[in-house]
């Protein structure tokens, strides 16, 4: 038996030593690893026409243990007590005692061992906890329950109007932001597999994957007017139709006789055209201010008996006056007296008044009197929320529209309304934190993302501020003072003002 083992060792050493020693070349397009956490390139090499991945990279990516195994006659890859043995001399591997074929056997380059990339879906996947899928076309290695959708953009007509379609397979929920400069599609998926992208033509300058991995950005020509975007969803796919007209004043110019010479060159006409366009992006017209607690629910009680529900109402009234008088923005309060309001009622006030912004005002409490300062919160979605949000795509309704055709209605669950606004809410929250910091002391965790109940159902950018700690005796006294309340209201107003600018000047190309 000892002789046999020694023979095995010798054979393996000889086999491993005789493995291809070629240098290998990098593939033209790197392989991309896609997980729920994001995407990153995976280093691979091409050897004899086959693509290989280094076993030490496999070990770190998948948390597996790799060792050369003389007894088993190859390389053993272990994961949670389960093992895969890749043969050193045959293009195959043993997975839980079953043999799977591979395009090549283990290869050695320098001091590193490599396996064909098919090793991952064929040999490692059966023993791994999460699915591993290799998509050759888009060169993706998809690990885990990740939703990857295929996106195929096409320009159908040069126009004007220029028409483009974006086909998304399988069907997915798409949120659209459009202005005179661009159209941004955010697809509800973990990653996009974007097909060949046509070059820009007509009033579309460029179609490309956006800054985030699940967005597609369509950059429009300076001569483009406000684009029209419609979405239709079937059981198989979602199709987004984008129609880009010429800017209205340019249409007039085209229709009318040419202006007498010397006419301005086209380039200098562009700023004028921009100035005449309707304001870009959504505007802040209605804001909902939500004074926390009320009625039987007094909120936090300070050591001297100050109650949270009164401070929140005082500060909310001050902010309402500032926003209405200085910004001319309509303000709706979820309560303007001392009464109990449930979280759903607060969200209902905001959603029914089609508010563009929601701000909930609270005063904090802690088990220790030493903590002081203000804190800002925005919503954190849990996995359940993300999954439910995905299912919303399946509940999309297509209703007949006036004048023929259909109109798709995205049905999003009431308690998940905030899902589509989390990014804007994060921006609003960080602006709030910056403005509060200028005027009042901030707490130990000034900006937090947590599952706050009242924010979950708000169908607009939303944030919650805790303006002080009532459990801190000094802050209790401060919170009651007119000066402090005025400072807080001013900081909140400054943040609303900045956020309005953010809404009205979305990032351009």
């Amino acid at each position: 038996m000892r002789g046999t083992a020694a023979l095995s060792v010798t054979v393996l050493v000889l086999v491993l030593a005789s493995l291809p020693q070629a240098q290998g070349t990098a593939p033209a397009t790197p392989l991309t690893l896609i997980t729920r956490e994001g995407r990153r390139p995976v280093p691979t090499i091409i050897l004899n026409g086959q693509e290989f991945i280094a076993l030490d990279d496999v070990a770190s990516m998948f948390q597996v243990t790799v060792r050369e195994d003389a007894l088993a006659g190859g390389v053993t890859v272990s994961y949670k007590g389960r093992t895969v043995v890749a043969s050193a001399d045959q293009p195959m591997a043993s997975v839980n005692g079953r043999v799977v074929t591979l395009p090549a056997s283990v290869a050695r380059v320098g001091r590193r061992l490599f396996v064909p990339i098919d090793f991952l879906p064929r040999a490692l996947a059966p023993v791994y906890d999460a699915p591993i899928e290799l998509r050759r076309g888009p060169r993706m290695l998809v690990v885990g329950n990740v939703r990857v959708v295929r996106v195929v953009p096409r320009i159908e007509a040069v126009g004007p109007p220029t028409r483009a379609t974006i086909e998304i397979t399988p069907a997915a929920l798409v949120s659209v932001a459009a202005d005179a400069g661009r159209v941004l599609l955010r697809v509800d998926a973990d990653a996009l597999e974007v097909g060949p992208t046509p070059p820009g033509t007509g009033l579309i300058d460029q179609i490309r994957t956006g800054d985030q991995s699940t967005t597609v950005a369509i950059a429009l020509s300076p001569r483009a007017g406000m684009p029209r975007v419609s979405t239709t969803t079937t059981t198989d796919n979602t199709r987004v139709l984008i129609e880009v007209p010429l800017a209205p004043q340019l249409q007039d110019t085209n229709a009318a006789p040419a202006p007498p010479a010397p006419g301005p060159p086209l380039s200098s006409a562009t700023p004028t055209a921009d100035a005449l366009l309707p304001p870009a992006g959504p505007r802040l017209q209605t804001m909902v201010i939500d004074p926390g607690h009320g009625g039987d629910d007094v909120g936090v009680r300070g050591p001297k008996g100050t109650i949270e529900k009164q401070i929140t109402l005082d500060v909310a009234r001050r902010l309402k006056t500032l926003v209405e008088t200085r910004l001319g923005v309509r303000v709706v309060m979820t309560r303007d007296d001392d009464r109990a309001v449930t979280p759903d009622e607060r969200d209902a006030v905001a959603n029914n008044s089609k508010a563009d912004l929601f701000l909930s005002i609270h005063v904090n409490g802690a088990v220790s009197p030493s903590i002081a300062g203000a804190e800002v919160y925005y919503l954190r979605l849990d996995r359940e929320g993300e999954d439910a949000r995905r299912n919303a795509a399946a509940t999309e309704l297509v209703l007949p529209a006036v004048g023929g055709g259909t109109r798709p209605i995205d049905m999003i669950r009431w308690d998940l309304a905030q899902s589509f606004h989390v990014d804007a809410s994060a921006t609003f929250a960080s602006i709030l934190e910056e403005e509060l910091r200028k005027l009042i002391p901030m707490g130990p965790r000034p900006l937090q993302q947590e599952p706050m109940r009242v924010l979950a159902g708000a169908n607009m950018p939303a944030s919650l501020v805790e303006i002080a700690y009532l459990t801190n005796p000094d802050q209790e006294q401060l919170a009651q003072s007119g000066d402090y309340q005025a400072n807080v209201a001013q900081a909140l107003y400054d943040a609303v003002l900045r956020f309005r600018s953010y809404l009205e000047t979305p990032p351009r190309r």
Binding site: A72, H293, N364, V367, S368, D415, R445, E466
Partner: protein, 192 residues
Amino acid sequence: MTRTRYIQIGAATLAVAFTAWGASRVLERMVSPVPQQASTATASSAVASVPHIIATLYYASSDGQSLAAVKREVPLADGALAQGRQIIQSQLEAAPAPYVSVVPAGTTLRAFYVTDRGDAFVDLSPEVSTAHPGGSTTELLTVYALVNAVTTNLSSVQRVQILISGKEADTLAGHVDLRRPFERDTSLVKTP
């Protein structure tokens, strides 16, 4: 091929034997009473002679800013479900100095059960809400102390839903959404 099969069987037997030995050592350590001198280092919540396990419970740090993970003795119970009840009951008791309990005094455990999918339901008496002092900070600490106490000590539990008086609840005191189960989250935990 036959030789390879023998080698595989031999390796598998060795692996099983090693795993079993490891598991028995771990169980031995969990179940055996902690020697008397060791109990001075951990806050004791059990009579010394009663068999117990060492569980990780969560309390507010003395400055109230974060959660502290504290090892405590919890009476040994028969089975994961009964052990879970013991752990939660210990979590509901007063905190050892210098820590502060973030669960309102008087809160009791009405029921505890775990589904096959690993969702645990912790059903508490109404005091957890009616006696809660409020504030987002305290409420977050209360929720994550309970969630982490269950998920850290019971490996079969993936998520925890807090019920009040046998029903789903909106919040404890107006801030943190209790309508869906929570996963373990130690971002508020500061290592002492």
